[in-house]
């Protein structure tokens, strides 16, 4: 993931990520065909059930991205005193995963609202699942905002890491909200240790969609990581150029 290390690098792609990119496009195309054409309509919901194939994988990817953010934040906080470059690597990973997590939480909210209008008869209700999900979205937006605040990079990264760990508390609350409270939202469609109540083709389409969205998310995280690294290099170069021009000016005036 750290292949972009030279300041003259203009792109974030490598041969591997190009392959991953092509794979992501192909996987998404197949997901679209399976989800929209091959998978059957639901006996009750009819065609509206196709939202399942984007809504459910999106929130799972968001959960996964936030787990990655948290693990990276812990590793950053643990390792920053020993090796600064490792620390910054974890910080970049945390930031890029959180960005992707926020995007997929947004997709979950939008697709959920559209699905809700067709099935529940309303776009929005303040039930436990919807409330905690929107809170998750806002909290991680706050995390991303914190990462943009002007401060010493290490101090800023440390604050962001702490914020990431606080924000993560909401992830299990979102997931289990449908079990802990009475909600309009149905119980989880995919849950560890619980047999899914989805018939064959629909179940396999859902699993495949989760895989396809995972590839897209991995591709996005890698590229965002590299963009963040390039931004850092640009800032370092700008700072070095400013210092050197200032020194030149001082030498000239003496």
């Amino acid at each position: 993931m750290t292949s972009v290390t030279h300041s003259n690098a203009k792109m974030t792609a490598t041969a591997t990520t190009r392959v991953l990119g092509v794979l992501a496009i192909a996987a998404t195309a197949l997901m679209t065909v399976l989800g929209l054409l091959i998978s059957p309509a639901d006996v009750i919901q009819g065609e509206a059930v196709r939202m399942l194939y984007i809504h459910v994988p999106s929130i799972w990817i968001a959960y996964g991205a936030f787990v990655l953010t948290s693990v990276s934040s812990i590793l950053f906080l643990r390792g920053r005193k020993r090796r600064e470059d490792r620390g910054r690597h974890y910080d970049r990973l945390a930031g890029s995963a959180a960005e992707v997590g926020v995007v997929f939480t947004g997709i979950t909210l939008v697709t959920g609202m559209l699905w809700g209008k067709v099935t529940w008869g309303t776009y929005w209700q303040w039930d436990a699942r919807l409330t905690t999900t929107v809170l998750l979205f806002v909290t991680y937006l706050g995390y991303l905002a914190l990462r943009r605040l002007p401060a010493d990079p290490i101090v800023r990264s440390r604050r962001a890491a702490v914020m990431a760990l606080i924000s993560f508390v909401n992830v299990p609350i979102v997931h289990y909200s449908v079990d802990w409270w009475r909600t309009l939202h149905q119980k989880a469609s995919l849950s560890v240790g619980r047999r899914p109540e989805i018939t064959g083709e629909m179940y396999w389409t859902l699993l495949y969609s989760t895989l396809a969205v995972t590839i897209v998310a991995a591709w996005l995280i890698i590229h965002r990581y590299r963009v963040i690294r390039l931004e850092e290099l640009r800032d370092e170069e700008t700072l070095a150029a400013l210092i050197s021009s200032r020194l030149d000016k001082d030498d000239g005036s003496n």
């Binding site: 099935t119 436990a128 809170l135 009475r182 149905q186």
Partner: protein
């Protein structure tokens, strides 16, 4: 002129430590405020969410204390009881063998037509003698908002057909019979 400082200047290290401590305190205060705000939003949201609806049996049990207050009631629609006339849909819902008669005054969502679909209705109790599949009742529920609460069960429309048969176990313990729907 004596320009010697009257007090000893703090060592840079000591100053840095002091600044560091002050900054840490500020960050801690901001973090605490943020956590408190989040807790407040969560509590506000969940206060409504934890009692998002009352099941039909609970709503009947709490009828006296609920009075004419607005609340949400949940139950499965008994298909044979659905009738629609001049913008009013009347039907009965059941939960835990308790039947509630409903008088609904707005357009039901599309999925309402599915037999035995769970619905959440917003409205209040109204006094009025009414007959239902379980006998008779002194109240009915007047609602103006309906939400369909679909389950996490998905079945292919190619393999399964909608039937008027009640979901497994729903009426097993009930002392009344539900008439078949006339289509």
């Amino acid at each position: 002129m004596d320009l010697t400082p009257r007090h000893e200047v703090e060592a840079p290290d000591e100053m840095r430590q002091k600044m560091h401590r002050r900054r840490r305190r500020t960050v801690l205060v901001v973090a605490l405020v943020l956590i408190a705000a989040m807790a407040f939003i969560t509590a506000q949201g969940l206060r409504n969410a934890t009692l998002f609806f009352r099941n039909a049996d609970e709503a009947v049990e709490q009828r006296v204390e609920l009075g004419d207050r607005r609340f949400r009631i949940q139950g499965r629609v008994i298909p044979s009881t659905v009738k629609s006339e001049s913008g009013i849909t009347t039907f009965e819902i059941v939960h835990d063998c308790v039947v509630v008669s409903i008088r609904h005054s707005s357009d039901p969502p599309e999925l309402f037509k599915s037999p035995w679909i769970p619905v959440v209705l917003e409205g209040s109790w109204v006094i009025g003698e009414i007959r239902n599949v379980a006998g008779s009742d002194t109240h009915y529920f007047a609602s103006d908002r309906m939400l369909v609460k679909h389950t996490n069960e998905y079945a292919s429309a190619n393999e399964q057909r909608l039937t008027d048969k009640p979901p497994e176990g729903l009426l097993d313990q009930c002392l009344f019979e539900v008439p078949a729907a006339t289509s």
